[in-house]
């Protein structure tokens, strides 16, 4: 057993960043994720690992600092909550367009607008369908526990560098604020200049050496034919992610006649609803998407021979349910159940919704 602690999800994001060899964090305070930067500032990682931590003047500046840092081949991250993530969308599409690896954390709160500081999952569309302008995708990881807040920081960076693409941890105010037992990752040193040269030397703007052409970090190409080719390249990358990076968890699915599909906090609640349902003799299973892009479409399709209906459970007015319906393509009934505005549903409500919307129909 390694370093086991009782910690808040947001604190763990900060701790995991330091331990995974992150080079820089640039952020701006917003509830309910301010503990990420507060923890970093208290930990002073610049004294220990050399990691840079800077409070920017705005979310807009923070994400553009991420762009600058990522352009240097460094492991760079930012975090925010929904209204702040909206402000970062410009920077995120530029990161995708310049093929820069970076990690963004969204501890989602309810919207639209200022909304409220309570947890929600209403940023699904923004996260997986674009958010900013242009045809791009993020690798979207959805933690359902404080442990996964730890694990996905390292994984997010790994995938971001593997594909030279920004990765997003889509958490929510519940997972960010709650305390749970967590086994922290071991310390990994930050990359040396030589390692950065080896990993990212073909594109990182570290100063032009005489043995290479200048590196340019840009998302601009005014030539439409080349721009189309570049977009083909991006699309091929996204198809490769769909091929290689789908992650999900199946719970009680072997004999399931009904299925919940839920991620993050909703998956935790739905798991309890599965238990309650099975106590009543209803054979319910749960598919928990861990990657929201790429989406576990095939995992859902493989269940269609055995299930009679599916309930998509989200703390939103119904966003992920569209991807469930695309996967199911009308073969079995699919309904959505959600609470929103910062309300977290109870397992009893979730089970009742299955009984009324699917089983009773």
């Amino acid at each position: 057993m390694g370093d086991v602690r009782l910690m808040k999800g947001n604190e763990v994001i900060a701790e995991a960043a330091i331990r995974c060899g992150c080079d820089g964090y640039f952020g701006y305070p917003i509830t309910p994720q301010s503990e990420v930067m507060e923890t970093l500032m208290a930990r002073q990682p610049w004294e220990q690992t050399g990691m840079v931590v800077l409070q920017a003047e705005s979310e807009v500046a923070a994400i553009n600092m991420v762009y600058g840092g990522a352009s240097c081949g460094k492991k760079i991250m930012t975090s925010s909550s929904s209204p702040g993530i909206s402000l970062k969308q410009e920077g995120i599409t530029y990161l995708a367009g310049a093929e820069l690896p970076a990690l963004v954390v969204n501890v989602v709160r309810a919207g639209p607008g200022l909304g409220t500081i309570q947890p929600a999952q209403s940023d699904y569309f923004q996260s997986v369908k674009g958010g900013g302008h242009g045809d791009y995708k993020l690798i979207v990881l959805a933690p359902a526990s404080v442990q996964e807040m730890n694990d996905f920081v390292g994984l997010g960076f790994e995938l971001a560098f593997k594909y030279r693409n920004p990765a997003l941890i889509l958490s929510d105010g519940a997972i960010g604020q709650m305390m749970e037992k967590v086994e922290l990752s071991d310390y990994k040193p930050r990359w040396t200049d030589e390692e950065i040269q080896e990993i990212s030397g073909s594109w990182a703007t570290t100063g032009k050496k005489s043995d290479r052409e200048r590196n340019i970090s840009t998302s601009l190409d005014l030539d439409s034919a080349r721009q189309e080719q570049f977009n083909h390249k991006l699309q091929a990358k996204y198809r490769a992610m769909e091929e290689n990076e789908v992650r999900f968890e199946k719970i009680n699915c072997d004999d399931a006649e009904y299925l919940f599909i839920a991620y993050g906090s909703s998956a935790r609640i739905s798991q309890k609803a599965v238990e309650l349902g099975r106590e009543k003799g209803i054979k319910i299973g749960l598919i928990r998407p861990i990657t929201l892009f790429p989406y576990p479409t095939k995992a859902i399709q493989e269940m269609l021979g055995q299930v009679k209906g599916i309930l998509s459970v989200e703390m939103s007015a119904g966003q992920m349910v569209e991807d469930v319906r695309l996967a199911v393509n009308g073969k079995v009934p699919v309904e959505h159940f959600g609470r929103y505005g910062g309300i977290i549903p109870t397992p009893e409500e979730v089970l009742e919704a299955l009984e009324q919307k699917i089983i009773g129909k």
Binding site: L54, T205, K209
Partner: protein
């Protein structure tokens, strides 16, 4: 003896008093005739070459006419979103403190949409150099009003002249920046005569030397022309600049600590 062989006799290493720096690439420049960007690029490239810091320098280009600056100077570049160059430079300089990092921004980019980023980078005293090219207009988008557009100046969005009641006042952002404790060297230069270019080059050298000494942020405004936006010939543009811009944007060093 033909004229060509006569010229070839003259052009030899012994007689060479001036040559284009190798850092200035041979890509065809997209700038309009009479534009100041080309001269400024040349000066920056020469200083980087003379200080022998090519492999330690990262430039950040803006959105605006100089968005393609990375096609002309042979160093590593980052191309920023509109106005955000100081944020990119902040991170780059903090993550690689031994490097020379500069932003190259126009007046729309720096004084309008990027006002927050430049003010805060200056206030933090980032160890970077900022080149601010002020031609009192948006060039790339077709000559619209900038914060720096003079009162009465005709642009695409002030077709009857800038009216302060309607369009607000002309902004002297360099004077504001000089007030911030994070800036160490703030100067306003021009590049319309050989003498002005030589003065500009001295300022550029000083700014990069401040980076070496980790003195903080050096800010060089260059008052320049936009013949296309102003709808004047290059020669007329220089005259218009001297008559109208220099009295308002007075040349000289505002701060040198």
């Amino acid at each position: 003896m033909t004229a060509t062989t006569e010229i070839n006799k003259i052009i030899n290493e012994d007689n060479l008093v001036y040559k284009k720096t190798n850092l200035l690439l041979d890509n065809e420049m997209h700038y309009c005739p009479g534009c100041t960007h080309g001269v400024i690029h040349k000066v920056i490239a020469e200083v980087i070459d003379e200080m022998d810091i090519q492999n330690e320098t990262i430039g950040v280009s803006p959105v605006g006419c100089s968005v393609l600056a990375y096609n002309y100077i042979d160093i590593d570049w980052q191309e920023a979103a509109h106005g955000r160059a100081p944020a990119l430079a902040t991170a780059t300089s903090r993550l690689m403190p031994e490097k020379y990092v500069f932003t190259y921004q126009g007046d729309g980019d720096l004084a309008s949409i990027g006002c927050a980023e430049i003010i805060h980078a200056c206030n933090r005293g980032e160890n970077i150099v900022v080149f601010f090219v002020n031609n009192a207009i948006y060039g790339m988008t077709g000559g619209q009003m900038a914060p720096t557009t003079l009162e009465g100046q005709v642009t695409a969005t002030t077709p009857y002249g800038r009216n302060t009641a309607l369009n607000g006042h002309t902004m002297k952002i360099t004077e504001m920046i000089a007030l911030l404790p994070g800036t160490r060297y703030v100067t306003r230069q021009s590049a319309e005569t050989p003498a002005a270019v030589r003065k500009l080059k001295k300022a550029v050298r000083k700014a990069f030397e401040n980076t070496t000494e980790k003195k903080g942020l050096s800010f060089i405004e260059i008052v320049g022309t936009c013949s296309s936006g102003w709808k004047l010939t290059p020669t007329q543009s220089n005259e218009w600049m001297k008559e109208n811009m220099f009295p308002f944007y007075q040349l000289g060093t505002l701060k040198d600590e």
